[in-house]
Symmetry: C2
Subunit: 294 residues, 2 copies
């Protein structure tokens, strides 16, 4: 039995007339007669009562009619689905992102993509840069929002580059400076993110301090950033955070630039060039758009 048989059978069942059914499915009447006969033979079931003048469904025929119609509908839906999937309009996409990415364009990108491709399921996972590299390599995620530099063969779209700013409790003496001299930080208690969460940036921050002639006194290593500035607000110490974090209005915390060039935190979308799913290019298209107009 093939779909052809179902198609012809449904046509006859709908028309109750072999000639018109043949017309409907664009073949000739004897073919319909023959194919229905073969179908009945294979099923071992009489589907129609028929004389040379009248055609009528048998009871088993009525049952099969319902089933056959639904099957043909499902086939159409399947074809449609696979073609949509091929165009990247249906399916799923695993996305990795770091904590800081949340305070940038990422939410807007996600929202725009969701609106444009509602049949694509976006699976978002917050993981640090290093683990995203592994996930990209293993195929656990298809695209990552992470911070260079990274090892490996990836493609990139740069989303934005941010400077670091000093987060201070609002009653801290250093708030009097517009640009805080770095030397003033030598005796401050620092709240930073854990070293393994961003090895490169961590080292660059240490280097900056070193060049200013001191080693920072780190009293807490925590994540995510809202927790860091929470500790700042509580007076535990000062912190260096990405400037986009100022988007969150946190009472009790003020931000100041430093008088030296701070390490920069670049956010990129990264993916492996091989075996990209059809969804990915559509997603990257949105990434490019949103990045350019902002």
């Amino acid at each position: 039995m093939e779909l052809r048989h179902l198609k012809y059978f449904v046509a006859v069942a709908e028309e109750l007339h072999f000639g018109r059914a043949a017309e409907k499915v664009q073949i000739t009447q004897p073919v319909i007669s023959d194919q229905i006969r073969r179908l009945e033979q294979e099923l071992g079931v009489k589907l129609f009562f028929r004389t040379k003048r009248t055609v009528e469904l048998t009871e088993p025929g009525k049952i099969f009619f319902k089933e056959a119609k639904q099957i043909l509908e499902r086939v159409e839906k399947a074809v449609d689905a696979v073609q949509k999937a091929d165009r990247g309009e249906l399916g799923s996409l695993m996305i990795g992102y770091t904590g800081p990415a949340l305070y940038t364009l990422l939410p807007k990108i996600i929202r725009t993509f969701r609106d444009r491709y509602p049949q694509v399921e976006l699976v978002l996972k917050e993981i640090c840069t290093n683990e995203q590299v592994e996930a990209l390599n293993s195929g656990n995620i298809e695209v990552g929002f992470l911070h260079p530099p990274v090892d490996g063969e990836f493609e990139f779209i740069s989303i934005m580059t941010e400077k670091m700013v000093l987060a201070l409790p609002e009653d801290h003496p250093l708030t009097t400076f517009t640009k805080v001299p770095i030397s003033k930080l030598s005796n401050q208690s620092f709240i930073l993110f854990p070293r393994h969460e961003g090895l490169s940036l961590y080292n660059r921050i240490l280097l900056m301090c070193q060049q200013a002639g001191f080693a920072p006194k780190i009293v807490q290593e925590v994540t995510p950033q809202p927790t860091m500035i929470g500790l700042v607000a509580a007076g535990i110490g000062v912190s260096l955070v990405s400037e986009s974090l100022q988007n969150i209005n946190r009472p009790g915390v003020v931000y100041r630039k430093l008088d030296v060039t701070t390490p920069e935190l670049e956010l990129v979308a990264a993916w492996k060039k091989e075996k990209v799913s059809p969804v990915l290019p559509k997603f990257l298209q949105v990434v490019t758009e949103i990045t350019r107009i902002n």
Copy 2:
């Protein structure tokens, strides 16, 4: 696209190996290669990443895999259903019955059939003998439990023949007789069923009275029978009912035979011989069984 393509595709998707897939569906490997190629071409979608050594589903391929498997399952179910329907094990049966049939073997027949063929839906309609004849002719019901004689070409199974008994209020003077002489009924008020509900029986009751030398004084024509004996219990009059009605224990009512031969009420299952659905023979089989053992 034909079911064959789906079958081969599912085999390859499951095995991820053209050779083993070919073995699974009992054809040779080059055929699989060819058919998958044609399928991909027709859909316009690449379903597998493949080198000469490895086979892997693409994202659209994964979507199509799910769909194809479900479609093949549905096809199997459809074939099973139509064959069950052909054996009369699945489908529906419209059954007509008269009120009196309810107090006989009908409930047991229905229960037995339901237990044996749970996938057959029984549609029961209470309609009088005359209307059942029409319904059988028009195909509104396939089998009827009714009371002969009837006009038309039907097949019959006789379920039972019942005599009529006299229903009296428990405090009625005639209850003193074991067999009530028919002459004593000449001045009684009668409660009968409406004439059109059972023309033949009605006339035979009238004839019986006529032969005893009187015309019955009919004060109420009502249906169904429980209502009739309700009126008897209320002292409105006496009634003639089928003896199976004694199965319902109605306080305030007693039953007595007459001293003459009463009209008999035969209950039969009737159906048209042409275009019987496969369910009907199974049902009639149960009717025969239950009738014989009781």
